[in-house]
């Protein structure tokens, strides 16, 4: 397990929030707009503190990169609590194998190299950044005024105290996959991950997962019949059909499973995990995720609105050999400060509250 806790200051809707007691699989619930998605975003930034994560967050929020060009001085404001960009964002953890603090602040300074650039795109953004390491910082160009005036610069800097480098993570990065609620992975991307999984001998996990939803599926493979590769499924005595022809649940399951088997020792973030999953398959989905997460040492954080999904999670967690392998957290507002509280609800307590119809989701 990678993270045991997190502290978030001045980021999105979080003024000052801490969460403790993470396990292998962590489910977060709460009312709409209480900060569940932003919580996952904080985890992503903490684990992979680089320009790509910033771009991932912008895309997941449907922020057009063109906005950065047109409104450079406020380009980054929505990352800050109440848009107070004069204060730094601080996200930190103090866990078993990782003591890590990320600070994000706005620096405004001239960037001579960019003054004459009139265009701006994602590739240029990436090419202007340096890989984030614990030694140096990453300068991410936020917005470029076409007239070459002062640009808004997103300066990512890490400070560490007594950092313990996780084995094979010498650059201090934990590989983190983020699955937003409103975005699907491209079929090409899934097929490429599948090919790696097949090469390493893990593709049977995906077939087993598909069969939870549709037991008639007997084979899964990838083919490049068009321009790009795709995953194909075959039912008994039928021809292969592309994954895109199957329901949303199958596509989601492919995404979840491949992110786990394709990334040993990583973190997986799933927003609104219940989307597309019929209630009759929810316990099976959780059982599969527990099994894979433990096998591939992947820590999972997921959010949900669904009482059924929560109940299924609770039932499966109770049955685990290590009943400590899952944890549920309810996000809510503090009665006095209105700050967001991340309240852990022990599984036995969650079980009692569900049975007696007490609130479990804020």
């Amino acid at each position: 397990m990678h993270l045991r806790n997190i502290s978030i200051q001045n980021f999105r809707c979080f003024q000052n929030t801490t969460a403790q007691g993470f396990k292998t699989i962590n489910l977060l619930g709460g009312q709409n707009n209480v900060g569940k998605t932003a919580f996952l975003e904080a985890l992503l930034l903490l684990n992979e503190s680089n320009a790509q994560s910033i771009i991932t967050l912008l895309k997941s929020r449907n922020v057009e990169l063109d906005f950065m060009t047109r409104m450079p001085t406020i380009a980054w404001d929505n990352f800050f609590y109440q848009q107070q960009n004069s204060k730094e964002i601080v996200i930190k953890t103090d866990s078993f194998s990782r003591k890590w603090q990320l600070k994000i602040g706005i620096l405004k300074q001239d960037e001579p190299e960019l003054k004459n650039n009139s265009s701006f795109d994602e590739q240029k953004l990436i090419s202007l950044t340096k890989e984030l390491t614990i030694e140096n910082s990453c300068d991410l160009i936020g917005g470029i005024n076409k007239d070459g005036h002062t640009v808004g610069m997103y300066h990512l800097k890490t400070t560490t105290d007594d950092v313990i480098i996780v084995r094979n993570q010498s650059k201090g990065i934990i590989n983190t996959n983020y699955i937003p609620s409103n975005k699907s992975a491209s079929h090409e991307e899934l097929a490429l991950i599948f090919d790696t999984a097949k090469y390493e001998g893990w593709s049977d996990r995906l077939l087993a997962a598909f069969r939870l939803i549709d037991p008639s599926i007997v084979k899964v493979d990838s083919f490049s019949l068009g321009k790009t590769p795709s995953i194909y499924l075959q039912r008994n005595n039928e021809k292969y059909l592309p994954l895109s022809h199957f329901g949303d649940a199958m596509n989601k399951i492919a995404n979840y499973v491949l992110r786990i088997v394709g990334s040993n020792n990583s973190v997986l973030l799933i927003d609104e995990i219940e989307n597309g999953i019929h209630h009759s398959h929810q316990e099976e989905l959780w059982s599969m995720l527990f099994k894979l997460a433990l096998e591939f040492k992947v820590q999972i954080f997921a959010t949900t609105h669904s009482g059924e999904m929560l109940n299924a999670f609770k039932n499966v967690t109770i049955k685990q050999q290590d009943s400590d392998s899952g944890a549920y957290f309810m996000l809510d507002r503090h009665h006095t400060t209105q700050e967001i509280i991340v309240q852990k609800i022990p599984i036995a307590t969650l079980n009692e509250r569900i049975q007696t119809q007490k609130p479990t989701r804020g």
Binding site: Q20, D332, H334, H335, T337, I341, K344, I345, P346, K358
Partner: protein, 252 residues
């Protein structure tokens, strides 16, 4: 907001009726288990405390009262049990230890959750002359003739003559004194205080007796009935003074 934790649903109905009778402000009452078993489950008590702390965390002026039967236990053993459960529940909820220890019953102690939230906690052990449970109290505060219930003594003599044994706690036997006590209360509410024509599943339901609305039966039916608890039991009896003083703590 105040929450009381009690051992069983019957305790819950009784406490709620007592609060109403005392004209105290309404409180939530959480029952540890539906029916009281012979030994109080430490895990179940801890879970209920954990649940109450989650509800009280979001509230200003939160108060938590724990009401347990003393049974045959020593008061200190019960206090130790309560303290263990509070500490475990607190740690599981908030991932840190607490210093607060309840060293006495019927006294409020502050349980600090964060800078702005402190829960006042107290516990009370139901007893008559230092022993017993809710049914012991109910037997003491009956208001009507209890011939049918009292004749259980003869039944006891009858089965003892036939080599069946009444067992006290910890002893071997065929029926326990706790079961006899529950039978006494059941006979009283069913046979001594109700005419034959009126006895049915609804009129003998404890929730109905105390609160005027019965618990759902197997078919999910509930009914409004006469809340006759205050007629057949004396809620002004001195035996209840300690419990009432405990409840009054939560009106601060």
């Amino acid at each position: 907001m105040k929450i009381f934790i009690v051992e069983s649903e019957n305790d819950e109905f009784f406490v709620r009726a007592l609060i109403t009778e005392m004209q105290q402000t309404a409180a939530k009452v959480y029952a540890i288990e539906e029916f009281k078993h012979s030994n109080l489950s430490e895990t179940a008590l801890k879970t209920q405390i954990s649940s109450a702390l989650i509800d009280l965390r979001s509230i200003n002026g939160a108060m938590l009262g724990i009401v347990l039967d003393i049974d045959e236990a020593a008061q200190q053993d019960r206090l130790d049990l309560v303290n263990r459960c509070i500490q475990k529940a607190f740690y599981e909820n908030f991932e840190r230890d607490i210093d607060t220890i309840l060293s006495q019953t019927n006294q409020l102690y502050p349980l600090r959750i964060d800078e702005y939230t402190t829960v006042q906690v107290a516990c009370h052990f139901t007893n008559v002359d230092g022993k017993g449970e809710l049914e012991t109290v109910l037997k003491s505060i009956k208001t009507q003739d209890s011939t049918f219930a009292d004749c259980l003594e003869c039944w006891q003599k009858c089965f003892e003559q036939r080599n069946k044994k009444l067992a006290a706690k910890g002893e071997q036997g065929d029926i326990t004194d706790k079961e006899m006590l529950k039978l006494w209360v059941d006979f009283y509410k069913r046979f001594d205080t109700m005419k034959k024509s009126k006895r049915n599943e609804f009129s003998t339901d404890w929730k109905g007796i105390w609160l005027g609305e019965t618990a759902p039966n197997k078919r999910g039916e509930t009914r409004q009935v006469e809340a006759r608890g205050t007629t057949i039991f004396d809620l002004n009896h001195t035996v209840l003074n300690d419990l009432k003083n405990f409840i009054r703590l939560f009106e601060q």
